[in-house]
Amino acid sequence: MSTTDNGPAVEIPDEPVTDEARVVTVVSPKAAIVLGLLTLGLGLAVLLGSQSGDTTYRLASRDDLFELPEVTVPVTGTAIAALVVMALCTAEALRRYLGRLRLPMWLPIVFAVVAMTGFLTWAAAGGTVPLVGLLSGSVALAVPLVFGALGGVLGERAGVVNIAIDGQLLAGAFAAALTASIVGSTWAGMLGAMVAGALVAVILGVFAISYYVDQVIVGVVLNVLVIGVTSFMFSQVLAPNAESLNSPPRLSAITIPVLGDIPVVGAILFRQTVIVYLLYVAVAVVTWALYKTRWGLRVRAVGEHPKAADTVGINVVATRYKTILLAGAIAGLGGAFYTLVSVQGFNREMTGGAGYIALAAVIFGKWDPIRATLAALLFGFASNLQGVLSVIGSPVPSQFMLMLPYVVTVFAVAGLVGRSRGPAAVGLPYRKS
């Protein structure tokens, strides 16, 4: 947290500091090291893996307005080109570190895209990569993660650590299946999911805000509690009466006119279900509200310095309750995606720990809704990538493909994100004295 760590070098201007000149640039060799390691990794893979031939990228999907041609690239040439660009990026990162310059945001992004293309081309040699399928599948896998991450960001910005995201997703999935089956409407299911997510948030609030219990404890325990309750109810009630209680109607995809007809992008983003469109709205509204409205300022104030917020008349406890209720409802809606879109019907522990990945996305995204969304999309892409590659058949044993997203995350967190710093008062209950 402090800049006195022996890790990053700190540049402090020699001349007397005026108000304008008080700019401290923190630079660190981490980025260059990590980029170098990744370049080396791909280089070794290309050298030892002996892949050759061509890789085809299919850009078109069904129902396109006009069909895009397939793009075929030679494996060796593309891999070498990618390696050269990656090496250049690494060199640039190194130069900036030596020159005490800040690393621009575009550098890791360019690196990531190029590295991904190079790797994909190499791994899928001789096959065809369905680009649209790959990307739209990524969006589908990322939807619950993004909802969960949004809920997490909101809660933590208000000073409440929300480890219970997984519980909220699971509760949402359960409630969506149950209510949608009983009422026979997907809208009821979505509403039920939001209520269930908010209910978990209420328990979190009662213990963490009103009774000052450590928020991490409450969160972890709530996850276990929700797993227990939903699995118990599933075996006792849902499974024996599956037709009446666990067969929700399926939410179908809606194509947005005009936008849905754009090649590639349209198929990926605008031929989705209502939940996904609600997701776009949620990300935009949460981001705008958090940074541009009076409400958002209050939420952030309560999370950074509750005492100061209280002093100027903001009701800290009420603000925290309201925010985590909203956050819980958002995360719960994400859970509905499991039972209304991905699979029809609830099954025990069906989130498979996605809430923890969403939590990772919150921290990875540095508590910012947009960045957390991007991080969640990255996780979705990575977990879809291994599925696609296992169909095409790649030279790497499937277990290594499966672990790739997680390894890359560790590298990214260690090398690019570094010391992530949350809201100052996160995790501390507020006691009015």
Partner: protein, 426 residues
């Protein structure tokens, strides 16, 4: 906890070390406000409120959790629901059906975990207790691993990955090292601790060197570890049983299996004794050693600890190595004791995550973790027999366990629910 504060005071007012290394100085130039912020961690307050005569709350928490569990059993029981439909006509049916459902469940839980009065033989009657101890062992060891990291301010969610790596390492040594006799067992257990310790150490090292958040890293390492062990188990020449296609290793050799404690009719093995030893060692490290003092100082306030001359980064690495080692002990317990018929990716059996709840219930104190591990072990042993005898899903145990942890952490809530007088000045 009561012995902690004098301990802290003693150490910080003791004579300064001549070499001036990592020992805290006599009067650390630390802003008092920073060390003891008025609104700083509720942890101590919570801990103090439990240890200072809050046994009533602990008992009531268990009662409350059992009541909630009863309600869930009641409302999902078939005959209770049937009788509820004519409750106004014959309420006694409803109440007797409810009583049957609830008492049946808890009697089965008791018979499965403590004492089975229905068994004809005396071995059969005390077998449930030995089963409880068998299930407690790994929970205590892994719980210590999570708890120790907690005391240094690190949240180790990586129990699953550490269990897998430790189990695979222990299994590999047991199958491949050409030693016979008890030495093989010792080497295998040590390998399990080393494997898990190094895996956890990655998270500590990354936290120390780059500031990477240990929560993310340990979560990610769970997945990486799973696939790594999965690969090793499905590759001939590493761990996979020769000639097999299943991701499973050969059974452990006789010499590497933890010996049974009470003869062959009980499955309780030496692992439980190892758990007790681990409790004693961790207690000593935390409360009596300079290293434990540094762990706690870093956990209380890393800035103050750094100012006092403690190498915070090194402490992160060391504590994660030790925490992983403890989880690895639990993994060895599984691979070499409880399930010695071969390493699989299921060797974790949920212990890595249960350990978090155990550590939380035990307040990260070795003795508390011992108690929590015994309680959860009893639930685990009893839950299975409850499912078998009464057809009640074992998941109800998760509900009861998590409610106990929640209620014990919020004494004022429990007091309010039972209308007990609020506790006077703590």
């Amino acid at each position: 906890m009561s012995d902690e504060r004098p301990d802290l005071a003693k150490a910080s007012t003791g004579p300064a070390d001549d070499d001036g290394s990592a020992e805290p100085q006599a009067t650390p130039p630390v802003d008092v406000d920073e060390v003891r912020r008025p609104e700083s961690p509720p942890w101590h307050l919570v801990v103090r409120s439990i240890t200072s005569g809050n046994a009533v709350v602990a008992v009531l928490s268990v009662v409350l959790a059992l009541i909630v569990g009863s309600l869930m059993i009641m409302f999902t029981d078939e005959s209770v629901r049937d009788s509820a439909s004519y409750i106004t006509a014959r309420p006694q049916d409803f109440f007797s059906a409810s009583w049957d459902a609830i008492s049946g469940a808890y009697t089965a839980l008791f018979r499965g975990s403590i004492y089975n009065n229905l068994s004809p033989t005396s071995e059969g009657r005390i077998r449930p207790l030995t089963e409880t101890l068998k299930f407690s062992g790994p929970l205590i060891m892994a719980g210590l691993g999570v708890g120790l990291a907690f005391r240094a301010g690190l949240f180790n969610i990586g129990g699953r990955g550490q269990m897998l790596l430790g189990g695979a390492a222990a299994g590999w040594v047991a199958l491949n090292v050409d030693v016979s006799g008890p030495l093989l067992l010792v080497l295998s257990v040590l390998a399990g601790m080393l494997g898990a310790g190094l895996w956890a150490g990655i998270a500590g090292l990354l936290k120390a060197r780059t500031g990477a958040h240990e929560v993310i890293v340990t979560i990610m390492l769970n997945y990486v570890g799973f696939y790594l062990v999965f690969y090793a188990l499905s590759k001939q020449g590493i761990l996979q049983q020769p000639g097999s296609v299943n991701p499973k290793s050969l059974p452990m050799p006789e010499d590497a299996v933890l010996p049974r404690l009470l003869g062959d009719q009980f499955s309780l093995h030496l692992g439980f004794v190892l758990a007790l030893v681990a409790v004693a060692v961790v207690w000593w490290v935390l409360n009596r050693s300079a290293l434990g003092y540094r762990f706690r100082a870093v956990g209380e306030n890393p800035h103050a600890a750094r100012t006092a001359g403690i190498d915070v980064g090194r402490m992160y690495v060391v504590v994660m190595l030790m925490a992983g080692g403890l989880v690895g002990l639990a993994a060895s317990n599984q691979v070499l004791g409880t399930v010695p018929d071969g390493v699989t990716t299921g060797l974790d059996a949920g212990i890595g995550f249960d350990a978090i709840t155990v550590a939380l219930l035990g307040r990260s104190h070795p003795l508390g973790i011992l108690g929590a591990g015994l309680l959860f072990g009893a639930f685990k042993a009893g839950g299975f027999s409850m499912q078998a005898a009464e057809g009640i899903p074992v998941d109800i145990v998760l509900v009861i366990q998590s409610l106990i942890v929640l209620f014990i952490a919020a004494p004022p809530l429990v007091r309010a629910l039972f209308r007990l007088p609020a506790k006077e000045a703590m």
